[in-house]
């Protein structure tokens, strides 16, 4: 009996989590414009999607922003994590707390404060546009990279870096040959997470992109305001699948690491 209840409970949870997405996916293949009645399978909305110039432009900005921001954030985050790892305990704790604040901060606050910052900098001919959105994405991505790299650094046995230097390695060589391979899984996880976050973001982008630049989520939002069109479903489905694949990749990477460890 207990077992059945547990099953039912699990089922309900998953149902509420995934039913909306399932509906969305199903109706993205609907041949009619209706979002309520099924009238046959079709890829009509998908082809419409790819013919829409503004959507393609948004896709371009989204991908460009995701690639650049996750790449840059990964480099910054890894270097910062390495620095934090070598700090004494007290300042390390303080920095980690500071690092965690943006993660917990509501996106809307981050978005508006970044916008405020950029407008304050407008005197220096800093206009809202792709660059400001990119900077914002880098800013909210760095903490995620730091959080995924730091544990790998502390998993390294004591004195690993010292041992490399003891054997004649310069700090840079030691980092490349000894530290980097050791923390690689953390770096990759961090990079994929940053990429996902960037694709996923609406609120912060909305406040920092300015006029003329839209990413996919802003695009969906604007389209939805003009009335629901099934091509939104198609676009959302594609984004969902992309993010899902990335998350599976992250999981795969953490699993492989665990297997190596055991």
């Amino acid at each position: 009996m207990k077992k059945h209840l547990a099953r039912l409970y699990t089922f309900l949870i998953f149902f509420f989590l995934y039913a909306p997405i399932l509906v969305l996916i199903i109706f993205s293949f609907n041949s009619s414009k209706s979002t309520a009645a099924w009238s046959g399978f079709s890829l009509r909305w998908y082809s419409e999607l790819f013919r829409d110039k503004s959507i393609m432009k948004a896709l371009y900005y989204t991908l460009l922003c995701a690639v650049l921001s996750s790449g840059i954030a990964t480099v910054f985050g890894t270097i910062t994590a390495y620095g934090i790892h070598h700090m004494r305990r007290r300042p390390q704790k303080i920095l980690l707390t500071i690092n965690n604040i943006p993660l917990l901060n509501p996106d809307i606050v981050t978005g508006i404060s970044l916008m405020a910052l950029f407008s304050a900098l407008a005197v220096l001919r800093f206009k809202l546009g792709f660059t400001t959105m990119l900077i914002a994405h880098i800013a909210f991505n760095v903490p995620y990279v730091i959080l995924s790299v730091l544990p790998k650094l502390s998993q390294m046995p004591d004195d690993t870096i010292n041992a490399a230097m003891d054997l004649g390695a310069t700090p840079f060589y030691a980092f490349r040959k000894v530290v980097l391979p050791e923390i690689k899984p953390g770096i990759i996880t961090g990079a994929i997470m940053a990429f996902t976050m960037s694709i996923d973001d609406f609120v912060i982008s909305y406040f920092t992109a300015g006029v003329g630049v839209t990413n996919l989520s802003i695009q969906i939002y604007t389209m939805a305001r003009r009335g629901i069109k099934p091509s939104i479903n198609a676009l959302s489905t594609l984004m969902f699948v992309a993010v899902l694949i990335l998350l599976l990749l992250v999981n795969k990477y953490s699993d492989e690491k665990e297997q190596l460890m055991s």
Binding site: D158, D159, N162, D166, G168, Y173, P181
Partner: protein, 346 residues
């Protein structure tokens, strides 16, 4: 001076204001085997890390062949280290671990292969080249750490309790092996341990440390036979330590009795500590007996019996090959040259 290969001068290390290494001076000759011996937390590892370049001394200097090296990074010192917790590179094979230093020196591959396999057979791990670090036991990892450092044939090798994870038998074997390699390769060893037996069997010179300070420096026989204070005497082996009074040259009073001894140079009626080793007290029934007591316990320890004799509420630890039953009245005799007199600790 010229025969001092490496020298520490007034070395001090403080962490957050507390002195972990407190103004120590030492020097090592080339090809010497120096052991730093002391209880856990006395500052052995910290001293070694300053020599290796992983910690900067708070004050003081370290000279290598007369030149200061404190400002040199570890990778510019002709010194290699066997770390207390091995610090092997987990993602590399055993071969790559051992070859790491040789790679940096740009040694040809064939030469590296030769040296690595020679090192592996020296530490009794032939054929382990392709193994992963995580698949090795603690003792095996420790031996790889020794191989990884030794393969570079440094001028000075620092070893931080390198045999700590081995069982007794392997440990004895490796002690001999290390000593042999040290002499064979002509490398200066600075060896850290808290095992006094290991220190006594392997070293040319021993530094005994406690609470960051050097207690005594000397050869194993010096240290064993002539401990300079009660700490050393107690640490180097189980000893009977009692307070006494130095009456005059070659006469000392302790346990309420006057004893002839061979020490000189203390002040008349100076309060001193007397050390007598358990194997140096003779149980006797004849007139030579200086102290009288009752056997409290007798335990067989393999080669000898260990007895505790109670004399006037004092316990005397005695080792002898002849057992005496518990409760028996016995006399104790200590020969003059087996009484060691030490300055009282402040």
């Amino acid at each position: 001076m010229s025969n001092r290969l490496i020298e520490g001068i007034h070395l001090v290390k403080e962490y957050d204001g507390s002195r972990v290494v407190d103004n120590i001076d030492f020097w090592v000759k080339s090809k010497e085997f120096l052991t730093i011996l002391g209880p856990s937390g006395c500052g052995k590892t910290t001293t070694l890390r300053m020599i290796g370049g992983f910690e900067t001394p708070t004050s003081g200097d370290i000279l290598l062949s007369g030149k200061s090296i404190v400002s040199l990074p570890p990778y510019e010192r002709p010194i290699n280290t066997v770390f207390q917790r091995y610090a092997l590179f987990p993602h590399m094979s055993i071969y790559d671990n051992i070859a790491f230093g040789l790679h940096i020196k740009k040694m040809p591959k064939s030469e590296i292969d030769k040296r690595v396999s020679k090192m592996l057979s020296l530490v009794n791990l032939e054929g382990f080249e392709k193994r992963r670090v995580n698949s090795l036991s603690g003792g095996q990892q420790q031996r790889i750490a020794i191989a990884r450092a030794l393969v570079n044939e440094p001028q000075i090798l620092l070893l931080d309790e390198p045999l700590g994870a081995l069982d007794l038998k392997l440990r004895k074997e490796m002690q001999l092996e290390l000593k042999y390699m040290q002499q064979d390769l002509g490398i200066t060893f600075i060896y850290v341990t808290h095992d006094q037996e290991e220190a006594l069997t392997m070293s040319d010179k021993i530094i005994i440390m406690n609470k960051g300070k050097i207690q005594q420096v000397g050869s194993p026989t010096d240290i064993y036979n002539e401990p300079e204070n009660a700490f050393v005497a107690d640490f180097i082996g189980e000893s009977n330590i009692v307070s006494g009074i130095f009456k005059e040259d070659k006469v000392v009073e302790f346990a309420g009795t006057i004893f002839p001894c061979i020490d000189t140079g203390f002040a008349r009626d100076e309060a001193i500590d007397v050390v007598v080793r358990p194997e140096d007290i003779e149980i006797t029934a004849d007139v030579r007996a200086q102290l009288h007591g009752v056997v409290d316990s007798t335990v067989f320890k393999g080669v000898h019996y260990e007895m505790i004799v109670i004399e006037n509420e004092r316990e005397w630890l005695i080792q002898s090959t002849i057992p005496h039953e518990e409760g028996k009245q016995v006399g104790l005799y200590i020969a003059p040259d087996l009484i060691h007199i030490m300055k009282k600790e402040a």
